[in-house]
């Protein structure tokens, strides 16, 4: 029976020759990942030890923990939260990556997200691993089932195929594509499914933009997203020190729930209104021209990679952030930060008046420099629900790094296609 990428990866994880959508099967992830956060990791570790009586792990190398939240206040609470995590990881012999950047990016840099792999996390943005032909599935508290049993029951998802053709026009990227998909198909257009991307437009897309697209999959209702292997993916996988990998291709006549063709060259910049990313909140950026802003943010697990910083620099080069606007830029990882510094991009951003912060998740969830009640922000963060980045009275618009940078210059929401790039 012909299969999709997700079916093949999950068939291997389930120890089967093949699986079909709708089956409920125990699946064995290659990596079971968490970031430390009070109420999640501390609770799960305590449950493993105290409720399940687990004192040693059969395969500790399959567990990964990142410290990427709550890094920027330097207070006692932060110290205590992270020390609990360090102690548990030490107790169980689990690899811990601390303050190297946002885990969903660091796992790619370190080669954990390699072609054909199956990864779970309690956080849904693990789906960004799909950029590397890995399947990342956010399972919320079912992560405990994986940690305890080494496998967990999953319903095998159907797949929607996206044939991408053309290339993004200047000032447009995959953040515009994901919101275009939601605008066309609805916020449940891929509900309980995997999004599979292929075609010449997919092959032409930069890896950072693929990570951004796959990392936002949940807002279409999808449980994950994955790209077909290509030269870009295989070169990256070979260069990363992540061990052996086995790329997974879809069969030519695999069964898809739907197939959509999208011409990337037709896309225009999209902006999402405060509230959520649902279709009714999705606009073209030029429809919002005139919406004044006070804050702008480039960063998060979905955006803030080198391509996003290059995009911002292309808009901000020789310009200044508008009076009354604060632009915060958070490179997604330390490696991204160092590359951006080496390329001179951060100097361009600083000269324009941007503030550059250490790599972490802290802006995106309102922990670092939270928005004030009167703030109106445009953001490349992953979420724009009320209260997400600070005050519940602040408004959060979402757009690409191009659009955020152009809006910061204009002082109001503006597509980069109008502001222009150097």
């Amino acid at each position: 029976m012909p299969q999709t990428i997700a079916e093949k990866i999950l068939a291997r994880a389930a120890g089967r020759e093949q699986v079909r959508a709708g089956e409920s099967l125990p699946c064995r992830p290659d990596y079971m990942i968490a970031y430390d956060f009070p109420g999640y990791t501390d609770v799960m570790f305590r449950q493993m030890r105290e409720d399940f009586g687990i004192t040693t792990l059969a395969e500790p190398e399959r567990y990964l923990v990142f410290i990427d939240h709550m890094l920027t206040r330097g207070d006692q609470r932060e110290h205590d939260v992270h020390q609990v995590t360090r102690d548990w990881c030490d107790y169980y012999g689990i690899r811990l990556h601390e303050a190297e950047g946002i885990g969903h990016q660091v796992m790619a840099e370190l080669g954990y997200a390699a072609p054909g792999r199956f990864l779970i996390h309690f956080d849904g943005h693990i789906s960004g691993a799909g950029a590397f032909n890995a399947l990342g599935w956010g399972v919320r508290r079912d992560l405990l089932e994986g940690w305890v049993n080494g496998e967990l029951y999953l319903d095998i998802p159907a797949t929607t195929r996206f044939e991408l053709v053309g290339e993004f026009r200047p000032g447009v990227d995959s953040r515009d594509l994901v919101h275009e998909i939601i605008a066309r198909l609805g916020a449940d257009g891929c509900a309980h499914q995997v999004m599979e991307f292929g075609g010449p437009g997919a092959r032409a897309m930069k890896i950072d933009h693929r990570q951004s697209l796959c990392g936002m999959a949940m807002f279409t209702g999808a449980v994950s997203a994955v790209f077909e292997p290509d030269d870009t993916i295989l070169e990256r996988a070979s260069a990363a020190a992540g061990g052996a990998f086995a790329p997974v291709y879809p069969d030519p006549d695999a069964a898809y729930a739907a197939v959509h063709t999208i011409d990337l060259s037709e896309l225009r910049p999209r902006v999402v209104l405060p509230g959520s990313a649902r279709a009714a909140n999705t606009r073209h950026a030029d429809e919002l021209d005139g919406t004044e802003i006070t804050k702008a943010f480039i960063g998060s697990c979905a955006s803030g990679r080198i391509e996003d910083i290059r995009a911002a620099a292309s808009v901000l080069d020789g310009r200044k952030v508008a009076p009354g606007v604060v632009l915060n830029v958070v490179p997604t990882s330390k490696a991204v930060h160092d590359q951006a510094e080496a390329e001179g991009l951060l100097d361009i951003l600083r000269d324009a008046g941007a503030d550059i912060a250490e790599s972490s998740c802290d802006f995106c969830f309102g922990y670092q420099k939270p928005l004030q009640p009167d703030d109106v922000s445009i953001s490349t963060g992953v979420l724009n629900i009320s209260g997400r980045m600070g005050s519940t009275r602040a408004g959060i618009y979402m757009g690409s790094a191009y659009t955020v940078a152009a809006s910061a210059v204009a002082g109001r929401i503006s597509p980069a296609t109008e502001v222009g790039q150097r």
């Binding site: 409920s24 449950q47 409720d51 399940f52 009586g53 849904g124 956010g138 399972v139 919320r140 508290r141 079912d142 405990l144 089932e145 305890v148 049993n149 029951y153 319903d155 609805g186 916020a187 449940d188 509900a191 309980h192 949940m218 209702g221 999808a222 449980v223 959520s276 649902r278 009714a280 979420l383 629900i385 009320s386 209260g387 997400r388 519940t392």
Partner: protein, 178 residues
């Protein structure tokens, strides 16, 4: 986290509220309150934006009804804790957002996908819900019936156990004993 006993095979109550499409569950208590699990604090804010009388009129066994993609957004756990504290026993919707579905299934809440439900019922309608078969009998005599997608065997076991944690703990104990 609170723990709740598993539901009876037939849940009998009334429709406590009907929500629209893409409903963000955090709005049940308001985004200002999504970090509290305190029962009194939750009760004081539950559904206040929709119906001031909600917390006083809901009885154990009542259900809430949703449209398409129920639970969309970035669902937190306290809103469903607030509803379960009042006795809400199931959610019936046209469809569920996957993140919400997974998180609340873990907590042992029956979430039943029942096409047509959001237009077939109104607030106050009596319902009898046979959750294992996703059969909903509507009205005082139960003379109108809608049938949705029955939960998988695994999900039925999770709900019967009062949540995933209880189920995997029982399975783990069984494995250790055998």
């Amino acid at each position: 986290m609170s723990s709740y006993p598993p539901p009876p095979d037939v849940i009998e109550g009334r429709v406590a509220w009907v929500f629209g499409d893409d409903f963000d569950i955090d709005l049940v208590i308001g985004v200002e309150n999504i970090k509290t699990y305190d029962a009194d604090e939750l009760r004081a804010v539950t559904m206040k934006a929709y119906d001031d009388t909600f917390v006083d009129r809901v009885r154990p066994g009542d259900v809430i009804v949703g449209g398409r993609n129920f639970g969309y957004g970035h669902p937190h756990y306290p809103p469903m804790v607030a509803l379960r504290n009042l006795g809400i026993a199931a959610v019936l919707a046209e469809s569920f957002s996957p993140g919400f579905w997974r998180g609340e299934t873990y907590n042992g809440m029956p979430l039943l996908t029942v096409p047509g439900i959001s237009t077939a019922v109104g607030v106050g309608d009596p319902v009898r819900v046979e959750w294992r078969t996703a059969t909903v009998r509507i009205g005082p005599d139960g003379d109108r019936t809608l049938t949705g997608q029955p939960p998988s065997d695994r999900v039925q076991r999770i709900i019967s156990a009062g949540g995933s944690f209880n189920l995997i703990l029982a399975e783990h104990a069984q494995g250790a004993a055998s």
